[in-house]
Symmetry: C2
Subunit: 197 residues, 2 copies
Amino acid sequence: MEVFIEPIGRLINEFSKLPGVGRKTAQRYAYRVINMTESEAQAFAAAIVNAKKKVRYCKVCGNFTEEEECEICRTRDRRTICVVKEPKDVIALEKLHEYRGVYHVLHGVINPMEGVGPNDIRIRELLARIGEGGVEEVVLATNPDVEGDATALYIAKLIKPLGVKCTRLARGIAVGSEIEYTDDVTLARAFLERKEI
Amino acid sequence: MEVFIEPIGRLINEFSKLPGVGRKTAQRYAYRVINMTESEAQAFAAAIVNAKKKVRYCKVCGNFTEEEECEICRTRDRRTICVVKEPKDVIALEKLHEYRGVYHVLHGVINPMEGVGPNDIRIRELLARIGEGGVEEVVLATNPDVEGDATALYIAKLIKPLGVKCTRLARGIAVGSEIEYTDDVTLARAFLERKEI
């Protein structure tokens, strides 16, 4: 006989599709569902279908939205565009309550090793936005890793001739961290880009 | 404005209810759902509702089943009952393909610190099964911890006067482990219960 009865096995399979979830974790999640009340399980399932159905990408910036154009694009200062890799980067930056401009979500970075070229991410759309005029600065906020840096450089090369200011997030040792435990590359970079006080 | 749009926030909330899932992990799961196809999301939601609706507890042993009585109870040797804390213990034991008897799932162990007494777990149901006759041995396979041991002892005291053989899983050093790294309690126990070869 099968170790799991069919409805549990099927649910474990579904949970296993989530990122970083193995069989054991999926099993624990499935047991949790079975111990939910009927209405809790219904609410859980409804939230999944609802999110998938209602969430789409903003036609301007590519971020998640329920409308055609997201709230940030509709209400904020369009002179500055902050370019990020993924929607979750927008969340991280929005939590700061510092930035008042708009975003542009690339949905990826250039990564030749994985076959992702400039045409596979939303660079064309970014150039089109800049082409419409009114953009004064583009902040390249891709991750400080090889792919993120390469993508930022690639975009900067395309944008600079258009007369738009192009910036990149500052790199250095993390606030509150200890020099002793900072990795070599970061420390070297922080030293190289040291500022007069 | 809210950091997350409503459908995403709601889905993150639902995922946060799963055991060991914090906000960050729930967020990653929610993003995965949004990147699913419509039919994948539908299948995921359906598996949740389906599992909750179809899975119930076997009226005899208390294990998960789709029928009134589970397949193990219907088809296996009822002379031996293996008593476990949770359905997942049945899964672990069934994987061995060694045991040919039936089970009894307590759905908990006696734990006075958390207010769980003998009447809060399925001990009464176990005694009723034994009372029906035909049971020759009860294997107490609760976890080898304080609560598991106390529960096993409690049950053994009730069962022994009924003339039923009562056994407990052997404790000792794990097969393939190293004595050097075995914890003191286990090692002491293994020494005490050493067997002639």
